[in-house]
Protein backbone atom coordinates (compact mmCIF):
# COMPACT_ATOMS: atom_id res chain seq x y z
CA UNK A 1 0.00 0.00 0.00
CA UNK A 2 1.25 3.48 -0.81
CA UNK A 3 1.03 6.25 1.78
CA UNK A 4 -1.72 7.80 -0.29
CA UNK A 5 -3.88 4.70 -0.07
CA UNK A 6 -3.17 4.31 3.64
CA UNK A 7 -4.09 7.88 4.48
CA UNK A 8 -7.18 7.75 2.32
CA UNK A 9 -8.49 4.49 3.73
CA UNK A 10 -7.78 5.57 7.31
CA UNK A 11 -9.57 8.84 6.69
CA UNK A 12 -12.62 7.10 5.29
CA UNK A 13 -12.53 4.63 8.16
CA UNK A 14 -12.37 7.37 10.78
CA UNK A 15 -15.28 9.20 9.18
CA UNK A 16 -17.36 6.03 9.13
CA UNK A 17 -16.57 5.39 12.80
CA UNK A 18 -17.52 8.95 13.69
CA UNK A 19 -20.77 8.78 11.73
CA UNK A 20 -21.65 5.43 13.24
CA UNK A 21 -21.05 6.63 16.79
CA UNK A 22 -22.95 9.86 16.29
CA UNK A 23 -26.08 8.35 14.80
CA UNK A 24 -26.20 4.82 16.20
CA UNK A 25 -23.53 4.09 18.82
CA UNK A 26 -23.91 6.89 21.34
CA UNK A 27 -27.71 7.27 21.20
CA UNK A 28 -28.19 3.54 21.70
CA UNK A 29 -25.41 2.45 24.01
CA UNK A 30 -24.67 5.42 26.20
CA UNK A 31 -27.49 5.98 28.61
CA UNK A 32 -27.90 9.41 30.04
CA UNK A 33 -30.27 10.08 32.95
CA UNK A 34 -33.03 12.60 32.39
CA UNK A 35 -32.10 14.76 35.36
CA UNK A 36 -28.71 15.98 34.09
CA UNK A 37 -28.42 19.62 35.13
CA UNK A 38 -25.72 20.64 32.74
CA UNK A 39 -24.81 19.43 29.29
CA UNK A 40 -21.07 19.28 30.04
CA UNK A 41 -21.74 16.82 32.88
CA UNK A 42 -23.81 14.42 30.80
CA UNK A 43 -22.36 10.95 30.24
CA UNK A 44 -22.78 11.49 26.50
CA UNK A 45 -20.84 14.78 26.39
CA UNK A 46 -17.35 13.33 26.33
CA UNK A 47 -18.09 10.58 23.77
CA UNK A 48 -19.65 13.20 21.47
CA UNK A 49 -16.61 15.47 21.77
CA UNK A 50 -14.28 12.58 20.96
CA UNK A 51 -16.45 11.46 18.07
CA UNK A 52 -16.43 14.94 16.57
CA UNK A 53 -12.64 15.05 16.84
CA UNK A 54 -12.36 11.62 15.23
CA UNK A 55 -14.47 12.88 12.33
CA UNK A 56 -12.17 15.91 11.96
CA UNK A 57 -9.08 13.71 12.06
CA UNK A 58 -10.66 11.54 9.35
CA UNK A 59 -11.33 14.57 7.14
CA UNK A 60 -7.77 15.74 7.79
CA UNK A 61 -6.39 12.39 6.69
CA UNK A 62 -8.44 12.47 3.49
CA UNK A 63 -7.18 15.97 2.70
CA UNK A 64 -3.57 15.05 3.41
CA UNK A 65 -3.94 11.92 1.31
CA UNK A 66 -4.22 14.18 -1.75
CA UNK A 67 -0.61 15.30 -1.25
CA UNK A 68 0.87 11.99 -0.16
CA UNK A 69 3.10 10.08 -2.50
CA UNK A 70 1.64 7.27 -4.53
CA UNK A 71 4.81 5.21 -4.62
CA UNK A 72 4.46 1.77 -3.27
CA UNK A 73 7.20 1.37 -0.74
CA UNK A 74 7.70 -2.31 -1.42
CA UNK A 75 6.56 -3.98 1.76
CA UNK A 76 7.78 -7.35 2.83
CA UNK A 77 4.34 -8.44 3.90
CA UNK A 78 3.16 -8.60 0.29
CA UNK A 79 5.55 -11.38 -0.58
CA UNK A 80 4.47 -13.71 2.19
CA UNK A 81 4.57 -17.26 0.93
CA UNK A 82 1.65 -19.65 0.85
CA UNK A 83 -1.75 -18.19 1.60
CA UNK A 84 -1.33 -15.61 4.33
CA UNK A 85 -5.06 -14.87 4.55
CA UNK A 86 -5.73 -18.52 5.26
CA UNK A 87 -3.21 -18.47 8.10
CA UNK A 88 -4.73 -15.31 9.56
CA UNK A 89 -8.15 -16.94 9.45
CA UNK A 90 -6.73 -20.03 11.12
CA UNK A 91 -5.19 -17.95 13.90
CA UNK A 92 -8.49 -16.13 14.41
CA UNK A 93 -10.24 -19.48 14.60
CA UNK A 94 -7.72 -20.69 17.18
CA UNK A 95 -8.37 -17.60 19.30
CA UNK A 96 -12.15 -18.00 19.13
CA UNK A 97 -11.86 -21.67 19.98
CA UNK A 98 -9.60 -20.76 22.91
CA UNK A 99 -12.22 -18.46 24.37
CA UNK A 100 -14.77 -21.23 24.06
CA UNK A 101 -12.51 -23.91 25.52
CA UNK A 102 -10.93 -22.04 28.44
CA UNK A 103 -13.83 -22.30 30.90
CA UNK A 104 -14.86 -25.76 29.68
CA UNK A 105 -11.75 -27.88 29.38
CA UNK A 106 -9.44 -25.75 31.48
CA UNK A 107 -6.55 -23.43 30.80
CA UNK A 108 -3.73 -25.99 30.88
CA UNK A 109 -5.17 -28.35 28.27
CA UNK A 110 -6.37 -25.51 26.08
CA UNK A 111 -3.03 -23.75 26.01
CA UNK A 112 -1.23 -27.02 25.20
CA UNK A 113 -3.34 -27.36 22.06
CA UNK A 114 -2.98 -23.64 21.28
CA UNK A 115 0.80 -23.89 21.54
CA UNK A 116 1.00 -26.91 19.25
CA UNK A 117 -1.43 -25.51 16.69
CA UNK A 118 0.23 -22.10 16.47
CA UNK A 119 3.70 -23.61 16.27
CA UNK A 120 2.60 -25.69 13.28
CA UNK A 121 0.71 -22.76 11.82
CA UNK A 122 4.02 -20.90 11.82
CA UNK A 123 5.60 -23.97 10.17
CA UNK A 124 8.27 -24.36 12.78
CA UNK A 125 11.50 -26.08 11.83
CA UNK A 126 11.68 -27.82 15.19
CA UNK A 127 8.47 -29.88 15.41
CA UNK A 128 9.70 -32.16 18.19
CA UNK A 129 10.88 -29.27 20.34
CA UNK A 130 7.57 -27.54 19.68
CA UNK A 131 5.61 -30.54 20.90
CA UNK A 132 7.75 -30.91 24.00
CA UNK A 133 7.35 -27.22 24.76
CA UNK A 134 3.62 -27.43 24.06
CA UNK A 135 3.29 -29.88 26.92
CA UNK A 136 5.86 -28.55 29.36
CA UNK A 137 5.35 -24.78 29.11
CA UNK A 138 1.64 -24.77 30.02
CA UNK A 139 2.35 -27.22 32.84
CA UNK A 140 5.22 -25.11 34.16
CA UNK A 141 3.11 -21.95 33.94
CA UNK A 142 0.27 -23.72 35.71
CA UNK A 143 2.58 -24.86 38.48
CA UNK A 144 3.90 -21.36 38.90
CA UNK A 145 0.64 -19.42 38.72
CA UNK A 146 -1.47 -21.87 40.70
CA UNK A 147 0.98 -22.92 43.38
CA UNK A 148 3.47 -20.07 43.73
CA UNK A 149 1.28 -17.11 42.87
CA UNK A 150 -1.93 -18.66 44.21
CA UNK A 151 -4.03 -17.79 41.14
CA UNK A 152 -7.23 -19.77 40.56
CA UNK A 153 -6.33 -21.02 37.06
CA UNK A 154 -9.51 -22.32 35.35
CA UNK A 155 -9.57 -26.09 35.60
CA UNK A 156 -12.48 -27.00 33.39
CA UNK A 157 -15.08 -29.69 33.86
CA UNK A 158 -13.06 -32.77 33.02
CA UNK A 159 -9.54 -33.31 34.29
CA UNK A 160 -8.37 -31.31 37.28
CA UNK A 161 -4.71 -30.91 38.06
CA UNK A 162 -3.57 -30.96 41.68
Amino acid sequence: MSPKVIQFRLGIGACIVAAFLTFIGIPNWVSSPSNVQNIVLAPTFWPYVLTAMTGLAGLGLILVAGHASQDDEGEDEEDASGNPWLRLAALAAIMIATMFALPRIGMVWTTMVVFALTAFLFRTRHPVTALICAVTIPLALYAFFAHVAGVAIPQGNYVRLP
Binding site: S32, P33, W109, A152, Y158, R160
Partner: protein, 325 residues
Protein backbone atom coordinates in the same frame (compact mmCIF):
# COMPACT_ATOMS: atom_id res chain seq x y z
CA UNK B 1 -0.84 -38.78 21.13
CA UNK B 2 -3.72 -36.37 21.43
CA UNK B 3 -6.29 -39.13 21.28
CA UNK B 4 -4.39 -40.88 24.01
CA UNK B 5 -4.43 -37.82 26.19
CA UNK B 6 -8.14 -37.36 25.82
CA UNK B 7 -8.68 -41.02 26.48
CA UNK B 8 -6.86 -40.65 29.76
CA UNK B 9 -8.78 -37.49 30.39
CA UNK B 10 -12.12 -39.17 30.09
CA UNK B 11 -11.20 -42.12 32.26
CA UNK B 12 -9.83 -39.80 34.89
CA UNK B 13 -12.83 -37.55 34.83
CA UNK B 14 -15.14 -40.50 35.09
CA UNK B 15 -13.22 -41.63 38.15
CA UNK B 16 -13.23 -38.19 39.70
CA UNK B 17 -16.92 -37.78 38.98
CA UNK B 18 -17.60 -41.08 40.65
CA UNK B 19 -15.63 -40.22 43.75
CA UNK B 20 -17.25 -36.81 44.00
CA UNK B 21 -20.60 -38.44 44.63
CA UNK B 22 -19.71 -39.87 48.00
CA UNK B 23 -16.76 -37.74 48.98
CA UNK B 24 -17.16 -35.30 51.81
CA UNK B 25 -17.28 -31.59 50.91
CA UNK B 26 -14.71 -30.05 50.58
CA UNK B 27 -12.47 -32.43 48.71
CA UNK B 28 -10.38 -29.80 46.96
CA UNK B 29 -9.32 -26.16 47.19
CA UNK B 30 -12.07 -23.54 47.39
CA UNK B 31 -11.97 -20.40 45.22
CA UNK B 32 -12.73 -17.31 47.24
CA UNK B 33 -13.58 -14.30 45.07
CA UNK B 34 -12.80 -10.86 46.47
CA UNK B 35 -14.76 -8.37 44.36
CA UNK B 36 -12.50 -5.43 45.27
CA UNK B 37 -8.86 -4.59 44.66
CA UNK B 38 -5.79 -5.60 46.64
CA UNK B 39 -5.09 -3.41 49.66
CA UNK B 40 -8.69 -2.32 50.15
CA UNK B 41 -10.82 -2.94 53.25
CA UNK B 42 -12.49 -6.05 51.81
CA UNK B 43 -9.20 -7.47 50.61
CA UNK B 44 -7.43 -7.04 53.92
CA UNK B 45 -10.39 -8.43 55.84
CA UNK B 46 -10.61 -11.42 53.50
CA UNK B 47 -6.93 -12.20 53.61
CA UNK B 48 -6.84 -11.90 57.37
CA UNK B 49 -9.69 -14.37 57.87
CA UNK B 50 -8.27 -16.64 55.15
CA UNK B 51 -5.57 -17.99 57.39
CA UNK B 52 -7.64 -19.30 60.33
CA UNK B 53 -10.50 -20.13 57.97
CA UNK B 54 -8.22 -22.21 55.76
CA UNK B 55 -7.19 -24.20 58.83
CA UNK B 56 -10.83 -24.76 59.73
CA UNK B 57 -11.78 -25.80 56.20
CA UNK B 58 -8.83 -28.15 55.93
CA UNK B 59 -8.33 -27.42 52.22
CA UNK B 60 -6.53 -24.45 50.71
CA UNK B 61 -8.52 -21.29 50.03
CA UNK B 62 -7.49 -19.65 46.77
CA UNK B 63 -8.02 -15.91 47.01
CA UNK B 64 -8.92 -14.25 43.72
CA UNK B 65 -9.43 -10.50 43.37
CA UNK B 66 -11.95 -9.89 40.59
CA UNK B 67 -12.38 -6.14 40.54
CA UNK B 68 -14.47 -3.70 38.58
CA UNK B 69 -17.77 -1.81 38.55
CA UNK B 70 -17.92 -1.29 42.31
CA UNK B 71 -17.78 -4.99 43.11
CA UNK B 72 -20.27 -6.06 40.43
CA UNK B 73 -17.79 -7.92 38.21
CA UNK B 74 -16.63 -10.23 40.97
CA UNK B 75 -20.15 -10.73 42.30
CA UNK B 76 -21.40 -11.76 38.89
CA UNK B 77 -18.54 -14.25 38.60
CA UNK B 78 -19.87 -16.01 41.70
CA UNK B 79 -23.51 -15.58 40.75
CA UNK B 80 -22.79 -17.54 37.55
CA UNK B 81 -20.64 -20.18 39.26
CA UNK B 82 -21.91 -23.63 40.10
CA UNK B 83 -23.48 -23.85 43.54
CA UNK B 84 -21.15 -26.63 44.62
CA UNK B 85 -19.47 -24.63 47.36
CA UNK B 86 -16.16 -24.41 45.53
CA UNK B 87 -16.66 -20.80 44.47
CA UNK B 88 -17.55 -18.39 47.26
CA UNK B 89 -17.66 -14.62 47.47
CA UNK B 90 -16.54 -12.11 50.03
CA UNK B 91 -19.60 -9.91 49.96
CA UNK B 92 -19.39 -6.35 51.19
CA UNK B 93 -21.78 -3.61 52.12
CA UNK B 94 -21.09 -1.79 48.84
CA UNK B 95 -21.64 -4.74 46.54
CA UNK B 96 -24.55 -6.33 48.42
CA UNK B 97 -26.65 -3.69 50.07
CA UNK B 98 -25.89 -0.26 48.63
CA UNK B 99 -25.48 -1.35 45.01
CA UNK B 100 -28.70 -3.40 44.87
CA UNK B 101 -30.56 -0.56 46.56
CA UNK B 102 -29.26 2.12 44.19
CA UNK B 103 -28.71 0.54 40.82
CA UNK B 104 -31.57 -0.64 38.63
CA UNK B 105 -28.99 -1.73 36.08
CA UNK B 106 -27.16 -4.07 38.42
CA UNK B 107 -26.83 -7.50 36.80
CA UNK B 108 -27.75 -9.30 40.04
CA UNK B 109 -30.11 -9.04 43.00
CA UNK B 110 -29.79 -10.21 46.58
CA UNK B 111 -31.83 -13.31 45.69
CA UNK B 112 -28.99 -14.55 43.48
CA UNK B 113 -26.83 -15.23 46.52
CA UNK B 114 -27.01 -17.33 49.60
CA UNK B 115 -25.24 -15.70 52.52
CA UNK B 116 -23.49 -18.08 54.87
CA UNK B 117 -22.14 -15.52 57.29
CA UNK B 118 -21.40 -11.92 58.14
CA UNK B 119 -18.36 -11.75 60.37
CA UNK B 120 -17.22 -8.18 60.56
CA UNK B 121 -18.93 -4.86 61.19
CA UNK B 122 -17.19 -1.58 60.39
CA UNK B 123 -18.47 1.57 62.03
CA UNK B 124 -18.95 4.52 59.71
CA UNK B 125 -17.53 7.91 60.63
CA UNK B 126 -17.95 11.32 59.06
CA UNK B 127 -14.95 13.62 58.91
CA UNK B 128 -13.81 17.04 57.70
CA UNK B 129 -10.45 18.79 57.63
CA UNK B 130 -9.52 20.83 60.71
CA UNK B 131 -8.94 23.79 58.39
CA UNK B 132 -12.61 23.84 57.42
CA UNK B 133 -13.57 25.30 60.81
CA UNK B 134 -16.34 22.74 61.18
CA UNK B 135 -16.31 21.25 64.67
CA UNK B 136 -19.58 19.38 64.97
CA UNK B 137 -22.42 17.95 62.96
CA UNK B 138 -24.43 21.09 63.78
CA UNK B 139 -21.71 23.24 62.21
CA UNK B 140 -21.77 21.03 59.14
CA UNK B 141 -25.54 21.21 58.80
CA UNK B 142 -25.41 24.99 59.19
CA UNK B 143 -22.82 25.11 56.41
CA UNK B 144 -24.97 22.88 54.22
CA UNK B 145 -27.89 25.23 54.63
CA UNK B 146 -25.65 28.12 53.56
CA UNK B 147 -24.72 26.15 50.44
CA UNK B 148 -21.51 25.20 48.69
CA UNK B 149 -20.88 22.02 50.69
CA UNK B 150 -19.76 18.91 48.87
CA UNK B 151 -18.92 15.35 49.87
CA UNK B 152 -16.65 12.82 48.23
CA UNK B 153 -17.23 9.12 47.66
CA UNK B 154 -15.44 6.19 46.12
CA UNK B 155 -17.92 6.18 43.24
CA UNK B 156 -21.60 6.20 42.37
CA UNK B 157 -23.45 3.52 44.31
CA UNK B 158 -20.77 3.12 46.95
CA UNK B 159 -21.40 3.11 50.70
CA UNK B 160 -19.81 6.56 50.87
CA UNK B 161 -22.24 7.97 48.33
CA UNK B 162 -25.29 6.73 50.20
CA UNK B 163 -23.84 7.53 53.61
CA UNK B 164 -23.29 11.20 52.76
CA UNK B 165 -26.89 11.60 51.68
CA UNK B 166 -28.32 9.50 54.51
CA UNK B 167 -26.48 11.40 57.24
CA UNK B 168 -27.57 14.80 55.91
CA UNK B 169 -31.14 13.57 55.59
CA UNK B 170 -31.17 12.26 59.17
CA UNK B 171 -29.88 15.59 60.40
CA UNK B 172 -32.83 17.37 58.87
CA UNK B 173 -31.57 18.49 55.48
CA UNK B 174 -34.71 18.33 53.34
CA UNK B 175 -33.16 17.52 49.99
CA UNK B 176 -29.55 16.41 50.47
CA UNK B 177 -29.02 15.88 46.73
CA UNK B 178 -29.66 19.53 46.01
CA UNK B 179 -28.17 20.98 49.18
CA UNK B 180 -24.78 19.27 48.93
CA UNK B 181 -22.81 18.29 45.85
CA UNK B 182 -21.66 14.70 45.51
CA UNK B 183 -18.17 14.53 43.98
CA UNK B 184 -17.42 10.92 43.09
CA UNK B 185 -13.79 9.77 43.03
CA UNK B 186 -12.20 6.55 41.89
CA UNK B 187 -11.68 4.49 45.02
CA UNK B 188 -11.70 5.05 48.77
CA UNK B 189 -8.15 6.42 48.95
CA UNK B 190 -8.98 9.09 46.39
CA UNK B 191 -12.15 9.98 48.31
CA UNK B 192 -10.18 10.71 51.49
CA UNK B 193 -7.58 12.65 49.50
CA UNK B 194 -10.33 14.79 48.00
CA UNK B 195 -11.31 15.96 51.48
CA UNK B 196 -7.67 16.46 52.46
CA UNK B 197 -6.93 18.73 49.52
CA UNK B 198 -10.15 20.67 49.77
CA UNK B 199 -11.93 19.28 46.71
CA UNK B 200 -14.79 18.13 48.93
CA UNK B 201 -15.97 19.32 52.35
CA UNK B 202 -16.64 16.05 54.11
CA UNK B 203 -16.96 12.33 53.69
CA UNK B 204 -18.61 9.50 55.60
CA UNK B 205 -16.82 6.20 55.32
CA UNK B 206 -15.60 3.20 57.30
CA UNK B 207 -13.66 4.22 60.36
CA UNK B 208 -10.77 1.96 59.33
CA UNK B 209 -10.25 4.03 56.18
CA UNK B 210 -10.07 7.20 58.27
CA UNK B 211 -8.14 5.94 61.29
CA UNK B 212 -4.68 7.00 60.16
CA UNK B 213 -5.84 10.44 59.01
CA UNK B 214 -7.59 11.00 62.31
CA UNK B 215 -4.58 9.81 64.31
CA UNK B 216 -2.36 12.17 62.34
CA UNK B 217 -4.67 15.11 62.89
CA UNK B 218 -5.25 15.55 59.16
CA UNK B 219 -8.96 14.89 59.42
CA UNK B 220 -11.40 15.66 62.20
CA UNK B 221 -14.16 13.14 62.95
CA UNK B 222 -17.63 14.60 63.55
CA UNK B 223 -19.61 11.49 64.36
CA UNK B 224 -19.54 7.70 64.37
CA UNK B 225 -22.67 5.71 63.52
CA UNK B 226 -22.33 2.93 66.09
CA UNK B 227 -24.02 3.04 69.51
CA UNK B 228 -20.59 2.61 71.15
CA UNK B 229 -17.73 5.08 70.69
CA UNK B 230 -14.92 4.01 68.36
CA UNK B 231 -11.41 3.86 69.79
CA UNK B 232 -9.25 6.72 68.53
CA UNK B 233 -12.22 8.73 67.28
CA UNK B 234 -12.88 11.70 69.52
CA UNK B 235 -16.43 12.19 68.27
CA UNK B 236 -19.98 11.63 69.54
CA UNK B 237 -21.91 8.53 68.56
CA UNK B 238 -25.09 8.71 66.53
CA UNK B 239 -27.05 7.74 69.67
CA UNK B 240 -25.57 10.61 71.66
CA UNK B 241 -26.77 12.92 68.91
CA UNK B 242 -30.18 11.26 69.01
CA UNK B 243 -30.00 9.67 65.58
CA UNK B 244 -30.42 5.97 66.40
CA UNK B 245 -31.56 5.24 62.87
CA UNK B 246 -27.99 5.79 61.69
CA UNK B 247 -26.93 2.64 63.59
CA UNK B 248 -27.98 0.81 60.44
CA UNK B 249 -25.37 2.70 58.47
CA UNK B 250 -22.42 0.39 59.00
CA UNK B 251 -20.05 -1.48 56.75
CA UNK B 252 -19.82 -5.26 56.89
CA UNK B 253 -18.02 -8.15 55.28
CA UNK B 254 -19.56 -11.56 54.82
CA UNK B 255 -19.32 -14.70 52.75
CA UNK B 256 -21.86 -15.77 50.18
CA UNK B 257 -22.30 -18.49 47.61
CA UNK B 258 -24.57 -18.76 44.56
CA UNK B 259 -28.27 -19.10 45.42
CA UNK B 260 -28.32 -22.86 44.74
CA UNK B 261 -25.78 -23.56 47.48
CA UNK B 262 -26.91 -26.72 49.32
CA UNK B 263 -27.97 -26.53 52.97
CA UNK B 264 -25.25 -28.83 54.28
CA UNK B 265 -22.56 -26.70 52.61
CA UNK B 266 -24.00 -23.53 54.14
CA UNK B 267 -24.13 -25.22 57.53
CA UNK B 268 -20.49 -26.26 57.19
CA UNK B 269 -19.46 -22.69 56.48
CA UNK B 270 -21.29 -21.62 59.60
CA UNK B 271 -19.25 -24.08 61.68
CA UNK B 272 -15.96 -23.14 60.04
CA UNK B 273 -16.57 -19.45 60.61
CA UNK B 274 -17.37 -20.10 64.26
CA UNK B 275 -13.97 -21.76 64.62
CA UNK B 276 -12.06 -19.23 62.52
CA UNK B 277 -13.35 -16.13 64.28
CA UNK B 278 -12.08 -17.53 67.59
CA UNK B 279 -8.52 -17.10 66.35
CA UNK B 280 -6.82 -14.55 68.62
CA UNK B 281 -4.51 -13.19 65.92
CA UNK B 282 -7.43 -12.57 63.60
CA UNK B 283 -9.29 -10.74 66.35
CA UNK B 284 -6.28 -8.67 67.21
CA UNK B 285 -5.55 -7.64 63.61
CA UNK B 286 -9.15 -6.74 62.85
CA UNK B 287 -9.68 -4.81 66.09
CA UNK B 288 -6.49 -2.87 65.42
CA UNK B 289 -8.14 -1.71 62.19
CA UNK B 290 -11.25 -0.59 64.03
CA UNK B 291 -13.52 -3.47 63.03
CA UNK B 292 -15.98 -5.17 65.34
CA UNK B 293 -15.97 -8.95 65.04
CA UNK B 294 -19.56 -10.06 65.14
CA UNK B 295 -20.32 -13.51 63.81
CA UNK B 296 -23.73 -14.18 62.31
CA UNK B 297 -25.03 -17.57 61.24
CA UNK B 298 -26.67 -17.91 57.79
CA UNK B 299 -30.16 -16.89 58.98
CA UNK B 300 -28.99 -13.89 60.98
CA UNK B 301 -26.75 -12.78 58.14
CA UNK B 302 -29.62 -12.90 55.66
CA UNK B 303 -31.93 -10.99 57.97
CA UNK B 304 -29.27 -8.38 58.68
CA UNK B 305 -28.49 -7.78 55.01
CA UNK B 306 -32.14 -7.68 53.92
CA UNK B 307 -32.87 -5.28 56.80
CA UNK B 308 -30.11 -2.92 55.76
CA UNK B 309 -31.09 -3.21 52.12
CA UNK B 310 -34.68 -2.24 52.88
CA UNK B 311 -33.64 0.85 54.83
CA UNK B 312 -31.28 1.92 52.07
CA UNK B 313 -33.85 1.18 49.41
CA UNK B 314 -36.49 3.29 51.15
CA UNK B 315 -34.06 6.19 51.41
CA UNK B 316 -32.99 5.85 47.78
CA UNK B 317 -36.60 5.86 46.61
CA UNK B 318 -37.47 8.81 48.82
CA UNK B 319 -34.58 10.90 47.53
CA UNK B 320 -34.84 9.71 43.94
CA UNK B 321 -31.27 8.46 43.92
CA UNK B 322 -31.97 5.27 42.02
CA UNK B 323 -29.88 4.86 38.91
CA UNK B 324 -31.94 3.74 35.94
CA UNK B 325 -30.64 3.07 32.46
Amino acid sequence: MKINKFGVAFTLSALLGATAAWAEYPERAVNMVIPYGAGGATDISARTIAEPLGDAVGKPLIMANVTGAGGATGSVAVQNAKGDGYTMLFARVGSHSVNPAMKATLPYTLDDFRFVTVYEINPVACAVTPASGINSMDDLIAKVNEGGVSYSSSGVGSLLHLAGAMVLKEFGVENPLEAATHIPQKGGGAAATAVLNGTATFLCTNSSALASFVANGQLKPLMVTTPEPVVGFDAPTANELGKERLNQLVGWTGIAGPDDLPDDVAAKWGEWMATATQDPKFNETMSARGSVIQLMDPEEANAFIIGQYNIFRALVDELGMRIEG
